[in-house]
């Protein structure tokens, strides 16, 4: 199993009240951003990732969001290039580049450059980008999936087909494709796809034999999607295995249970991940497929009134911030009970981690370690150090025992189906007693 580390790299000195008053991280004015603080934070996060390599992690994972204090990684590839030079061994997993909002030819050049500087340690990952990225970059959300598919196919060609050649697509046009940057990994860099259990993406991954990395999703829908992946893999003629699946897990450890619990609450800073962006920014016009819209309409229909909650919204800057904060913090224990947050000492987190590993059987496991908000650099580094020195060796033992093969151990998509042609199970069972 590959074990990695990840942080959102938040703009950690943003006052929480600003997020509550805006009902969202996206949309808070950048007048609150101070470049000197920003400089310190960029160095902090780079240093953390370099330290992760020394602590024995296999992967450092970065992500990209725009116009949002939730994540400072608006130009993720620049951070990746720096880490490519400052590290020697770890995979640098970009989860991911939002294809629809980029210039694909430029992206092919950038990623090949990073792959060369790292001497083949890049893991390219593609995402559609959250709805808010389409708004912040002014890219038509109604063509999001078309642009994603076209840009993906174009980049594969740009990396592999000798140039110069001409390209006339639907959304992209180039008269001279001949990049003088080619991936160090031939023919193309390793690729994993992160997602929030969108069935369309899961199926697409299975068809391309790309490992699918579920981003801190609840275990039950994660298992459903992995079954869906494995079913599609069966149709494609291969057996999916742990090497086809990755999981991002929120985890924080401290020397004492009490300290860990204090830190764990920072996951809910400003409302936490659900406050990333308001629904109208998450789902701008045309961003969802018709099938996804139908699913949302169903999920958000009030059974008593028949109204669809997403059809309207009310916000006020004059909300009772204290009440909102209390309501958010009241959800904290529930997130621990469902293993969404794993919080404790190195010893106390191990059974929980094992439960997650047994249940969803991932070949890639990324620790989304604590950061930002109210967490100091010292506490974040302690958590990382304890993870690396005390938790990680145990996880490796479990992985070996459970047969959780990484994409380096078994090439994703290379496992044959049983002679019956019917696939084997890819996930375990949720053990309610363990939650």
């Amino acid at each position: 199993m590959h074990i990695g580390t990840f942080t959102e790299r938040p703009y950690a000195s943003l006052a929480e009240n600003e997020v509550y008053r805006n009902a969202s991280f996206f949309g808070v004015s950048n007048k609150h951003f101070d470049p000197k603080t920003g400089a310190d934070l960029y160095h902090r996060y780079l240093d953390q990732n370099v330290a992760a390599e020394a602590l024995g992690f296999d992967v450092i994972m970065l992500n990209e969001h725009h116009a949002n204090p939730f994540t400072m990684g608006a130009v993720m590839d620049v951070e990746a290039a720096i880490l490519a030079a400052r590290t020697n061994r770890v995979k640098i997993a970009l989860m991911g580049n939002p294809l629809p909002i980029t210039d694909p030819l430029r992206l092919a050049e950038e990623l090949a450059t990073i792959d060369m500087i790292s001497r083949g340690r890049l893991v390219a990952g593609w995402v559609r980008g959250a709805g808010s990225e389409q708004i912040a970059n002014n890219v038509n959300p109604a063509y999001n999936r078309e642009r994603f598919n076209e840009a993906h196919d174009f980049i594969q060609q740009a990396w592999t087909r000798p140039g110069p050649w001409r390209y006339e697509g639907k959304h992209y046009h180039y008269r001279h494709v001949n990049p003088w940057q080619k991936p160090y990994q031939q023919p193309v860099p390793e690729c994993w796809i992160p997602g929030l259990v969108s069935p369309e993406t899961v199926i697409w991954c299975a068809q391309h034999r790309y490992p699918y990395l579920a981003l801190a999703t609840f275990l039950e829908p994660t298992m459903e999607m992995w079954d869906m992946y494995a079913d599609e893999a069966e149709r494609q003629g291969y057996q999916a295995g742990p090497e086809n699946f990755g999981y991002l897990q929120k985890i924080v450890v401290a020397e004492t249970e009490e300290k860990a619990q204090e830190l764990g609450r920072a996951w809910l800073y400003g409302g936490g991940q659900p406050a990333f962006a308001r629904p109208e920014w998450m789902f701008p016009s045309g961003y969802n497929t018709k099938a996804a819209t139908a699913r949302l309409a169903k999920a958000f229909t009030n059974p008593e009134t028949g109204d669809v909650a997403l059809a309207s919204a009310t916000y006020s800057e004059n909300i009772d911030v204290e009440a909102a904060r209390r309501a958010t913090q009241a959800t904290y224990q529930g997130f621990q009970d469902s293993n969404q947050f794993i919080v404790g000492t190195p010893k106390s987190v191990l059974p929980k981690l094992r439960h997650v590993m047994e249940t969803i059987r991932p070949g890639i496991f990324i620790c989304w370690h604590i950061e930002g908000g109210t967490v100091s650099q010292e506490d974040a580094m302690t958590s990382l150090r304890l993870l690396g020195t005390q938790v990680l060796p145990e996880m490796r033992k479990y992985a070996k025992e459970l047969g959780l093969t990484s994409p380096d151990e078994v090439k994703p998509g290379s496992r044959p189906l049983p002679a019956s042609g019917k696939r084997l199970p890819v996930v375990g069972k949720i053990n309610r007693a363990a939650e």
């Binding site: 959300p141 016009s285 819209t293 028949g306 059809a311």
Partner: protein, 260 residues
């Protein structure tokens, strides 16, 4: 009375449209939220006119057409529809996004119309202020912002009240296709005011609510300046949907104009 749904083959695609009423044909082009239902204004107009209401491709009823990627494509598609159905010259009434389609059609062939009535059309950049962003606004909030007084217009709740999942999906189709047509520049075409200058001899009426919170009402003057001889009718205490909020005045002005 109700309209009946018909369909026509246009350029290899199937266009569904509604037909209702009797009299000289009147082409009605619906707005960015899709066909709103048989409004009181349609009912009144259908007593003396045969309404022909195409359901724009991709807005939830007629299938999406992949190659229609901007408003001029859409306008040319309807020009072909009118020609092939032998409907020209015809009177046209366009609401909001439908008004923009009508204006683009007039640009590519003014002779296909006898009269052109545009109710708060998109298509031209406001001289000041900004167009409200449909694509990042929940639909019901957008509809509320379309009215001067959302509470004081009973027809509004009849048309748009209590939306269930089906209505939500229709709105999402309409918003998605509107985005395909007009994401950027947002809801206008920089060449339109210049090309409208070439529209000669087409009687044109621009109808607009003075309190439009979707498109700043000052845009009406730009249309009037661009189209030779265009008349402008502004409504007091009225938002983006004069056909609902000032229905009687709207119909009186429109009917008198079409009779000229």
């Amino acid at each position: 009375m109700a309209a009946s749904e018909k369909s026509a083959q246009v350029g290899g695609a199937t266009l569904k449209y509604l037909e209702g009423g009797s009299g000289a044909p009147l082409l009605v082009l619906h707005g960015e939220l899709g066909f709103p239902g048989w409004t009181d204004a349609y009912e009144s107009l259908s007593k003396t006119r045969k309404l022909i209401i195409p359901l724009h491709p991709g807005f939830g009823v007629s299938d999406r057409i992949d190659w229609i990627m901007n408003m001029r494509d859409q306008a040319c598609f309807y020009t072909r529809f009118l020609q092939e159905q032998a409907l020209t010259p015809i009177d046209v009434l366009g609401f909001s996004l439908g008004g923009w389609i009508a204006a683009e059609m007039a640009v590519n062939n003014a002779g296909q119309f006898r009269h052109m009535a545009l109710a708060a059309p998109f298509g031209i950049r406001p001289p000041s202020g900004e167009i409200r962003d449909l694509f990042a606004t929940p639909t019901q909030n957008y509809i509320d912002a379309s009215m001067f007084d959302p509470v004081g217009a009973p027809e509004l709740s009849k048309l748009y009240g209590a939306p269930g999942p089906k209505q939500y999906e229709m709105w999402e189709d309409a918003r998605a296709e509107s985005a395909r047509l007009a994401w950027a520049p947002y809801m206008f075409n920089p060449s339109l005011p210049h090309l409208l200058g070439g529209v000669k001899g087409l009687p044109t009426l621009v109808l607009w609510g003075k309190d439009d919170r979707i498109i700043p009402a000052g845009t009406a003057d730009v249309f009037a300046t661009a189209i030779a001889g265009a008349k402008v009718e502004m409504f007091d205490k009225c938002g983006h949907m004069p056909e609902i909020e000032k229905k009687d005045q709207f119909l009186a002005t429109l009917t008198a104009f079409l009779a000229q």
